[in-house]
Amino acid sequence: MSELELRQTTVEASAEHRPPRRRDRLPRVGTLLAIAFVLFLVAATCFPGLVATQDPNQIAAAEAFRSPSLAHWFGTDESGRDVYSRVIAGTGTSLLIGVTATAIGLALGLALGVLASFGGRALDFGVSRVVEVLFAFPGLLLALLVIVIYGPGPVTATIAVGLSTAPGYARIIRGQLVSIRSAQFVESARVLGHSPARILARHIVPNALVPIFVLATLGIGQAIVWASALSYLGLGAQPPAAEWGAMLAAGRTYLAGAWWMTVFPGLMIVGTTIATTVLGRALARRGRGPS
């Protein structure tokens, strides 16, 4: 949820131009790897058929709990389904959850943030407090409430995660907007006699969006992890849909006997988080032009 707060600093740090030593922090290799991984994910999302080796939902009870082999690269699960194929099949759902949740969180956050930063002192105080409240409101409970109210399933899980990430975004976006609004280039636009609307459209919003977009890329991975926690509580994606979080949750039961059921989906989640984060930071650096 609001480790965004933390990530914000990383974003800003990488956004401001810095001495060369700093640019080496993420090796170019890393960025390339990240791109490669993301491309793989995209492929798995768009043409799972091509990447997968078998029908992800093909039951073969007799084949259950097979360890990784040539036939089943990632082994099989409790129903004898091919874990590798399910991981591939799950990519779409998982990414969808991650992306949509982040989008929802961002949209809300943007609304609140704009309200707070342009609504004048009183409104700012109010909105900021409301955000505080949402913060104080344990994210998981928020999610639980949404789910018990609207029934479980990937959609509600996504909405739930989106909601619980919103306050984090709101805070950062507000901060962004406030700092940009007081930036000197905005003032000089005023001095030139430009209208507030024009300043908002041409300067403030575009400049705020760059870091926000970066934040979003960083948020996706976390959203997936969050959704998986809901799956653990049995409130995530519905069977037989393969979804990383759900697979992680399901495989957990058999961890002692069949490590492969959780390790591989787990690796995908971690991989996605890392890849998106690495790309996000790369973007952040490019967003503000070369150093």
């Binding site: 939902n57 093909q58 039951i59 009870a61 007799a62 259950a64 709990f65 409790e78 129903s79 004898g80 018990v148 029934g151 479980p152 399933g153 509580l233 049995g234 409130l235 519905q238 069977p239 037989p240 399901a250 957990r252 039961t253 058999y254 961890l255 002692a256 006997g257």
Partner: protein, 552 residues
């Protein structure tokens, strides 16, 4: 047939003979008779029990009345009667009983010299108070309330003579009274009011509630004046154990790990795979005690389309294949059932032939029923409507293995063109779906002692929901013949006649393809081998540690 719940077995022999479930259990069955096989009981020590069931919200099983309450209440409360392993009703707090010829008056002669742990004497007055307590709305009683719905009142004939006056004959009365939910508590305890009584009910049992640390544990200490073991107990006098530490460990993996690590001595609801693992080594003893009443089964909602058509019901049952799944997912710890009743019910009737998988037959039936076309995804369609079956699953009631099994049902049913939509819900949401009839198939366990459970689960009366919206007849089976048979059976005390009626009823129920039996309600306990002499009571299969002692 399968032996009733097994008590401790000497693991040496067990290791050698672990060649397959049936033989094991058969053996275990014989073992049960001679628990002292591994040395003489010694007194002292405490046992730590880790329960996977939800922590009760109230320790008085009269209030509400669910299985978790029964589990713990069995340690400190006792019922008027009990059941032995063969399913015979045996004396407990009641020494003997007589029923009038019209079956409307039951006289119970109570055990003499029993006192509750608060010093209150156990007498007919106490019985009267308990029944009234159960029937008082303020008690918020549910299970017990239903079990005694035919009891009009209890009259105190004399100190040790309690007379139950019924509104109608009830052949299930004794079975109902054998359940922990109707156990007898100290009137003084009840008088304290619900809040206090919920914290520490007072009974006559071998243990006493010492303290209850919410969400952590309940400490039970030995009742040194204990004098009222059931007829099938292995010894007299106080329990061997000084006490029981009753802990709540919801996560099954943690629970098993704790047993391995020795932090706890007994766990319930073990994962099938861990049971299998435990079977390999001889570090643990497995008590397999299926719950009585109904088996675990998938009910087909005959109240609405598409299952209002028997052919579609049969098609579904013919289409799905669960046997491989049960073997793989339960690691041979669960046996496929072909009956509506638990295998511990003597009157259980099963017919394997009705449930043989036959995809071709399933397809024929569906074609006959008019579900001829298939859509792009291969699901059958009829006048534009897809052959969809909503399947609400309670994540609180179905263990992961069972959920996986349902996924396999989903997959196999697809071959015949059924679209099964599994909806994982929390308990409240799940009941919500049932109340709203938003289901075509559902799996709901029902625990009650005796075949009378059939009346609750399949009598048409159970279609009309209780004020709370609950209704037990989830297959919405509405067949006058079945109703008649069940009502008559419930009023028939003569054993053979009763058995006959129940068998006919079950034939009708199974023959109408209203349900797909899976296996008994799984109810297992794993014990470290130090714990000897523990057993499951054959009423609702709750564990009893009265005979238990710590070896070595």
């Amino acid at each position: 047939m399968r032996a009733a719940p097994v008590t401790t077995r000497p693991t040496r022999r067990f290791g050698i003979l672990a060649t397959g479930l049936v033989s094991m259990i058969a053996l275990a069955g014989c073992q049960a008779a001679e628990p002292e096989a591994s040395g003489d009981p010694v007194s002292g020590g405490t046992v730590t029990y880790a329960s996977g069931d939800a922590e009760p919200t109230c320790l008085d099983p009269h209030v509400g009345g669910n299985y978790p309450q029964a589990l713990i209440a069995g340690q400190f409360l006792e019922s008027l009667v009990s059941r032995d392993e063969s399913g015979e009703i045996i004396p407990w707090l009641a020494d003997s009983w007589e029923v009038s010829s019209d079956g409307l008056v039951w006289d119970f002669t109570l055990r003499d010299g029993v006192t509750f742990t608060d010093g209150t004497p156990f007498d007919a007055e106490a019985v009267k108070v308990n029944v009234e307590h159960l029937q008082d709305p303020a008690t918020q009683s549910s299970t017990g309330y239903l079990a005694l719905d035919k009891v009009e009142q209890v009259e105190v004939v004399d100190d040790l003579e309690a007379r139950f006056v019924l509104t109608a004959p009830d052949s299930a009365l004794l079975e109902s009274l054998s359940q922990p939910w109707t156990a007898i508590q100290s009137p003084a305890g009840i008088a304290r009011g619900m809040e206090e009584n919920c914290q520490a009910p007072v009974g006559t049992g071998p243990f006493i509630v010492d303290e209850w640390v919410k969400q952590d544990h309940i400490s039970l200490v030995r009742n040194d004046d204990y004098s009222s073991p059931p007829a099938d107990a292995a010894h007299e006098g106080p329990a061997y154990l000084e006490g029981i530490e009753w802990r709540f460990v919801p996560d099954s993996a943690s629970r098993y790990a704790a047993l391995q690590g020795g932090q706890v001595d007994v766990i319930d609801n073990p994962q099938p795979d861990t049971i299998a693992a435990a079977e390999q080594g001889d570090a643990f003893t497995w008590i397999d005690a299926p719950r009585p009443g109904a088996s675990n089964r998938i009910e087909l909602n005959s109240g609405q389309a598409p299952f209002d058509d028997e052919r579609v019901r049969e098609a579904f049952i013919r289409a799905v294949d669960v046997n491989d799944g049960i073997d793989a997912l339960f690691f041979g710890t669960a046996e496929r059932s072909y009956s509506a009743l638990s295998s511990v019910e003597a009157l259980a009737y099963s017919d394997e032939s009705l449930f043989e998988t036959d995809l071709d037959r399933a397809n024929e039936l569906l074609d006959e029923a008019g579900w001829t076309e298939r859509d792009a995804e291969g699901y059958r369609v009829k006048d534009g409507a897809r052959l969809t079956l909503r399947f609400p699953v309670s994540t609180n009631q179905s263990i992961p293995a069972e959920q996986s099994l349902f996924e396999q049902v989903q997959a196999t049913a697809k071959d015949a063109g059924f679209e099964v939509v599994i909806e994982l819900l929390d308990l409240s949401g799940w009941y919500g779906a049932l109340f709203a009839h938003e289901y075509e198939i559902v799996s709901a366990p029902y625990t009650k002692v005796g075949p009378d459970v059939l009346r609750i689960v399949y009598h048409s009366d159970s279609i009309t929901p209780a004020p709370s919206g609950y209704f037990a007849n989830l297959s919405q089976l509405n067949d006058p013949d079945v109703d008649a048979l069940l009502t008559e059976a419930a009023a028939t005390s003569e054993p053979d006649a009763r058995a006959e009626l129940y068998e006919q009823a079950q034939q009708l129920i199974l023959g109408g393809y209203y349900l797909l039996p899976l296996y008994d309600q799984q109810n297992s306990f794993l014990l470290s081998t130090e714990v000897q002499g523990a057993r499951a009571i054959s009423t609702v299969s709750t564990p009893s540690f009265y005979d238990a002692w710590l070896a070595g």
